[in-house]
């Protein structure tokens, strides 16, 4: 009887810690998710920008050797990420597939010109740079024209800027919500112990001595919460990279390390500071106010 009663007591205490840990975990998870989104915003915008199609159409009658020579030159340009030589035949084949009709047979000849498909580095994929690049490309011998979707470039750049601002704003708001929520949860759990704290004071416990076990528990709770939150984030990352392998590249690992360290730091600090102030509040409160 005694043992079952005691284990019941312990279980009940444990559930109250579990509730706190779950609340903190949820909030940290949301924050971490947003953090990952911010980290990936650049990756995503780079991904979009570097996939802007840029076709260099070659003049009629230029020899293949000259085209390959041009491709080599282009590869050396700092703004070029990749180049791909598309022969007349390949262009015709792809176009036929798109049309679903053998237009070469229909026309009796291939009207398409060879071209070089270009992908730019993200940092050059803005309207100003693209205009300069276009001028330089046209100046190459054998280049007939440069073809790209001008409005698309403008639009992508504007949207990326707007989305970054929105994400930053949401992050800030969420951070404030996170702190308020965790603080509230902790205050409630300390509130439920206010009479215990009062008794400890009455038998001569100093503020420091009374706070110590609560703060230790707060640090442990904050730590566990952040570990669970990080686990959840890794899970999300795992599924996301399955869908979109480009998301993760190796230089990101360091960034993720920093993000996760930040989650642990935030978890412990918010939990610790909230507990500290919540307990101090009840230690300084008059007994009469405890009942209201």
């Amino acid at each position: 009887m005694k043992n079952s009663d005691q284990s019941y007591q312990k279980r009940r205490l444990a559930t109250s810690y579990v509730t706190t840990i779950i609340s903190i975990t949820m909030v940290l998870f949301m924050l971490g998710l947003l953090g990952m989104l911010v980290l990936h915003a650049k990756n995503l915008s780079d991904y979009v920008k570097e996939n802007i199609g840029f076709s260099i159409i070659i003049k009629e009658g230029v020899k293949e050797a000259d085209i390959l020579e041009l491709q080599k030159k282009l590869d050396k340009e700092e703004y070029v990420k990749t180049t791909e030589y598309i022969t007349r035949e390949r262009a015709a084949r792809e176009f036929s597939e798109e049309l679903g009709e053998d237009f070469v047979g229909f026309l009796g000849y291939n009207p398409l010109l060879p071209s070089i498909e270009l992908r730019l580095h993200a940092s050059y994929a803005n309207p100003d740079s693209i205009r300069l690049i276009e001028e330089r490309l046209i100046a190459y011998p054998g280049v007939k024209e440069v073809d790209y979707h001008k409005p698309l470039v403008d639009e992508i750049n504007q949207n990326v800027e707007r989305i970054s601002l929105v994400i930053l704003g949401i992050s800030l708001i969420l951070l404030i919500i996170a702190i308020a929520l965790i603080n509230n949860t902790i205050r409630l759990s300390v509130y439920s112990k206010r009479f215990l704290i009062r008794s400890m004071q009455l038998v001569g416990g100093t503020q420091k001595f009374i706070q110590k076990p609560f703060l230790a528990k707060a640090i442990v709770n904050g730590f566990f919460s952040s570990i669970i939150a990080i686990g959840l984030l890794l899970l999300v990352l795992y599924f996301a990279t399955n869908e979109m392998p480009e998301l993760l590249d190796f230089q990101d690992l360091e960034l993720f390390g920093i993000l996760f360290a930040l989650v642990i730091f935030l978890g412990i600090m918010i939990s610790w500071i909230s507990t500290y102030f919540a307990i101090r509040k009840y230690i300084r409160m008059k007994t009469d106010s405890l009942y209201s």
């Binding site: 215990l196 009455l202 001569g204 416990g205 503020q207």
Partner: protein, 224 residues
């Protein structure tokens, strides 16, 4: 504070919030003294006790307890005053989330006990004094009211304090246990401690006569 006097109140008024409970209280208690504090409920016995352990502030007059000036005492000094007092609270003030042993250990840890063997020894000593040596591993809620009260007494004794303030320590006890507690407190006072005990139990001071103070009409008056 002169020699043997350990509690000195001079023209102290006791307020509970803005209400004046006791006016112009002057009393002294010296070491080795045992004093009863009597009076009907609501006459301010508990408030006077609370003033002595700095739960209620002293606003007028002078008050000294165990070397602390209660007019000037600062928040962070209060715990150290309370460690010199053994307080038996009317509502026990046990820590409900831990066992009896842990309740006593909390006080011992708070007051700087380190050696766990000495702690266990002292713990068993005080529990034996109040007849609870077998209940150390129980939770407070598993004990009866009388047993909880005796735990509160044991806790007050654990640090061998200079003053024991007992607010109705026999309120929940049967007459035999009450006698045991009172004779225990009297014995303690003979070892150089001061004991102030608030009580309703008039039968007791016939059997264990001692100096008696009475709270009445907002005053504390000595009785002969």
């Amino acid at each position: 504070m002169p020699g043997d006097l350990i509690i000195i109140l001079d023209k102290v008024s006791v307020y509970q919030n803005e209400n004046l409970i006791l006016a112009n209280v002057s009393l002294t208690i010296s070491r080795s003294e045992f004093a009863y504090l009597i009076g009907r409920t609501g006459t301010g016995k508990s408030s006077l006790m609370k003033t002595l352990y700095a739960e209620l502030p002293v606003r007028t007059g002078t008050a000294g307890v165990a070397g602390f000036d209660l007019r000037k005492i600062r928040r962070h000094e209060i715990p150290f005053l309370r460690r010199k007092l053994g307080i038996v609270f009317q509502d026990f003030q046990l820590l409900m989330d831990r066992t009896i042993n842990e309740n006593l250990q909390f006080v011992m840890h708070a007051t700087g006990w380190k050696d766990s063997i000495l702690m266990t020894k002292r713990l068993q000593e005080v529990l034996a004094k109040v007849g609870l040596q077998t209940k150390g591993n129980k939770m407070p809620h598993q004990l009866s009211g009388g047993e909880q009260q005796r735990v509160a007494i044991a806790r007050a004794l654990v640090n061998d304090p200079e003053i024991i303030l007992a607010d109705e320590p026999t309120g929940n006890l049967d007459p035999e246990s009450s006698e045991g507690i009172i004779s225990l407190l009297m014995d303690i006072s003979k070892t150089g401690r001061a004991v102030l005990m608030a009580t309703h139990n008039y039968a007791m001071f016939e059997k264990y006569p001692a100096r008696t103070l009475k709270c009445e009409y907002g005053k504390v008056i000595p009785m002969d």
